[in-house]
Symmetry: C2
Subunit: 185 residues, 2 copies
Amino acid sequence: MLSTIIPKARPVLSNRRTIFNAIQRAREKTKSEKPPPPVAIPPTKRLAIVTCMDARINPFEQLGISKGEAHIIRNAGGMAKDALRSLVISQRLLGTRAIDVYHHTGCGMVTFKSPELRRLVKWGSPDDPACAEQIDSMDFLEFSDLEQSVKDDVNFLKESPLILKGTKIQGFIYHLETGEATRVI
Amino acid sequence: MLSTIIPKARPVLSNRRTIFNAIQRAREKTKSEKPPPPVAIPPTKRLAIVTCMDARINPFEQLGISKGEAHIIRNAGGMAKDALRSLVISQRLLGTRAIDVYHHTGCGMVTFKSPELRRLVKWGSPDDPACAEQIDSMDFLEFSDLEQSVKDDVNFLKESPLILKGTKIQGFIYHLETGEATRVI
């Protein structure tokens, strides 16, 4: 009964085809198995940083942060008021529990006043009532004292009913000329 | 009259002291001559980037930008509407003339709706009318379609009376899973 112990050899061609098909199937499987789509995940340091949009600031390089560690919110001046929507999302949906505010030396926010900027924009669009209305209702949040602006922003966040009680909130000045950051509050 | 032609040699000690004092003075001068304070300067590429606060995004590394080249505005989602104050300052006071909007895959902005988030915040502060009032007036700018959100933001900026006519405005999706950015509009 040898035939029952040793299975019949399949024709060589068929065997080769089987291997070929298996490789093909594996390839197709790999093709269809794209990396899984990324999902929103909490920053590992549970930290949100608020800083300026200034082109000379690289928070990863200069503020000691690595990718994945912190939400980084940036706007003109690094103003907390302007970051509130983002901070609520950061805290309530993505679990951050600390906020670091960084303003910096050489910031453009000390060089103008809102009424001047409004006049400048309206001067550029003299016959545009929509422009005038929008710019007149916009607060540009400029400041004149760098250290005070950091204190004001930290206090604004500490007093905001939208920020979670118990959030650790700190304020710093980043010195562009030395590359160092000093804590203000 | 040789004495009038050849000046008298000073005592050696005095000469040494003079040199020492000169070195000291030079050192003190260097100490007191701190680097000049930095001033606000325009980004060299005259570009403003609007992108998400997501902890996994490093615009310098991923979007091909070097320090000094572009204003980088970041908020939850990279929403143009939320970046308007910063963009007006960037364009009118610091000379940027192009805007790149980057939204990204795996963004938290597709995972919730504003009414849900408002309820969540109010649930956490049940007896706080200031909290309720502020959160009810806040639009969280969430979106459901990533590609459409980029188009909407670019069109919002193109139609905004506050953005300079002739600004080059482009919209991209940054793919976290591959590290590539594709242009949408």
